[in-house]
Amino acid sequence: MSVQKETQNPAFYMLMVVLVVMSLGPIVLMLATSFKTNVDVYDSTVSSFFFTPTLANYETVLCNVLWYEPTHVDYCDPTFGRSLGNSIFVALVSTVLTLFMGCMAAYALVRFRFMGRDTVSMTTLLMRMVPPAVLLVPVFGIWTFQYRLDGTFTGIILVYTAMNLPFVIWILQSFIVQVPIQLEEAARMDGANPIQIFLLVVLPIIKPGLAAAAIFTFRIAWNEFLLGNALLDRNTRTVPVTIVNSITEYDINWGVIMATGMLLAIPPIIFTFVASRQIITGMTAGAVKG
């Protein structure tokens, strides 16, 4: 069978161009606006995409982490710089923890038969659909009054890890099933114990799956607003919480807010371009294979 690309009707290329423009348009517009002064934003004679770009908005947002003092910033608001650091820390730690626990649990669910296996696997499946809004009330109550973890990184990392675990377990199961069992048996014959088999045989094979799971977990922890908003205080706030707090005011400085939004969007955009294959595999793994 020939895999060669055939020449297709130009109409299909037109359609693809339209689709690309439609899905990139809003993102490019946000990028463009983030380089625009607020005066230009409100001036209807200035085009949406062609104007004199400025880095001023980014300087305003990042003023306290820059190595120089931007001249146009009268008062440096440290909220954003701090929340950017918080976001990075929370997202990275919860991703590492989720992956670590998730791949061990997924391995046990796929390769061992033990009491309670079906219960665990059914529960994980059901937990996948719990929306953050449903967790809002109980998590707020428990974290504040029982665990005393409100306003701490430990508290928010605990919620994010728990929220992501079911999904990670589920997605990694579909990768672990594909690891040839003969490999594991051979390692066992050579005297490896289950932990060695897991670490040295299984993990290296499921690397693509781990990458996909890592991206999905990071994305949720990085983007989450609702629980962060309920649990975190002024010093521990993450970027999404900061953004929503700054747009409740009536007069919006669009340039600055778009620069903030762009900074929040950059890591997921980078992941998408670096690992789109893994993301697509992860996305289709569940639905297409069932």
């Binding site: 299909f12 899905s23 038969r113 059901l126 719990v130 809004a133 109980p138 371009f273 569940g286």
Partner: protein
């Protein structure tokens, strides 16, 4: 002899322990707590022990609460409209573009972007575009001679449309990517046989492609439906549920009941209702999957028997 039998009995528990511990402490316990809290009259300043037990009062309140009924209706309307639109556009595009076209993988990469970006940021982008004076839509309309523009976020009908458009923009690619993957894993032989029998393009789509893809399409639909009930941030940033209650979906209602009205018990009762709805959908998906697997198994057995 398989590993499963020979392994130390404790090994699986050791592998499971950390995940199970976290899930119990930070997911199962909170959900159980919420079910209990939904029977309490509870404000955020109280510990749960101090709250009064009020039985089913919160649920009874929900049934008579106009605002909640409205938001429930808005949620159903929102979910069914976006999922229908996304399925039609997504599957349609997949059918159109299921061919060897250069640049397909680039298109898929770009298509994932809207799903990866924070919902908060998606809300921001669209809020800017819908802005009555500086937004790109009204500016374009103005330059075309429509001085009035469209009251995107200040009119109750238009704001619903605006929220739907933003969601369709963000999530149609999901359906597109899944159905394209399903289409490309269809058995070539069936399509070739149809071609030999002289089937037209439409016949191939209606008689072969769509029926064969149906299992995947139904799972995709259910996944998307479950997610549509979870949407919150985009709407929060775009309209904050307004104007009036026209875009206030249940998730947003829960957020506001807890945050603004400080009625934790009532918010818990709402969460519980939403959770049960989602649970039903998830179990539906699970059962559907099991039935599909069973059918595939039987067909394989039948095929094997015929071969012998």
């Amino acid at each position: 002899m398989s590993i499963a039998i020979r392994a130390n009995r404790l090994t699986p528990y050791m592998f499971m322990a950390p995940a199970v511990l976290i899930l119990v402490v930070a997911l199962l316990y909170p959900i159980g707590y919420m079910v209990y809290a939904s029977f309490l009259d509870w404000s955020p300043s109280q510990r749960i022990g101090e709250a009064d037990f009020v039985g089913l009062r919160n649920y009874a309140n929900l049934l008579t609460d106009e605002a909640f009924r409205e938001s429930f209706w808005v949620t159903i309307k929102f979910a069914s409209v976006v999922v229908t639109l996304e399925m039609i556009i997504g599957v349609g595009l997949a059918l159109l573009l299921d061919r060897n076209i250069r640049g397909m993988s680039m298109l898929r990469t770009i298509f994932i972007l809207p799903m990866m970006i924070a919902p908060i940021v998606v809300g921001l982008m669209w809020r800017y575009m819908y802005h009555p004076t500086v937004g790109i839509f009204n500016r374009t309309l103005k330059s075309l001679g429509f001085e009035e523009g469209i009251p995107w976020l200040s009119d109750s009908t238009w704001s619903f449309v605006a929220v739907v458009i933003a969601d369709v923009w963000q999530w149609t690619p999901f359906i597109f990517i899944l159905s394209l993957a399903a289409m490309q894993s269809l058995p070539r032989s069936a399509l070739e046989a149809a071609e030999i029998d002289g089937a037209t393009g439409w016949q191939k789509i209606w008689m072969i492609k769509l029926p064969l893809m149906m299992p995947v399409l139904i799972v995709t639909l259910l996944l998307r439906l479950i997610d549509a009930f979870k949407v919150l941030e985009v709407i929060l940033v775009l309209t904050n549920g307004g104007p009036g209650l026209s875009t206030e979906i249940v998730a947003l209602r829960i957020f506001r009941t807890a945050q603004e009205f400080q009625e934790l018990g009532e918010a818990a009762a709402m969460s519980n209702s939403l959770l049960m709805l989602l649970m039903a959908l998830t179990i539906g998906m699970f059962v559907f999957n099991k039935i599909q697997e069973g059918r595939a198994e039987r067909m394989r057995l039948a095929a094997n028997q015929e071969a012998h």
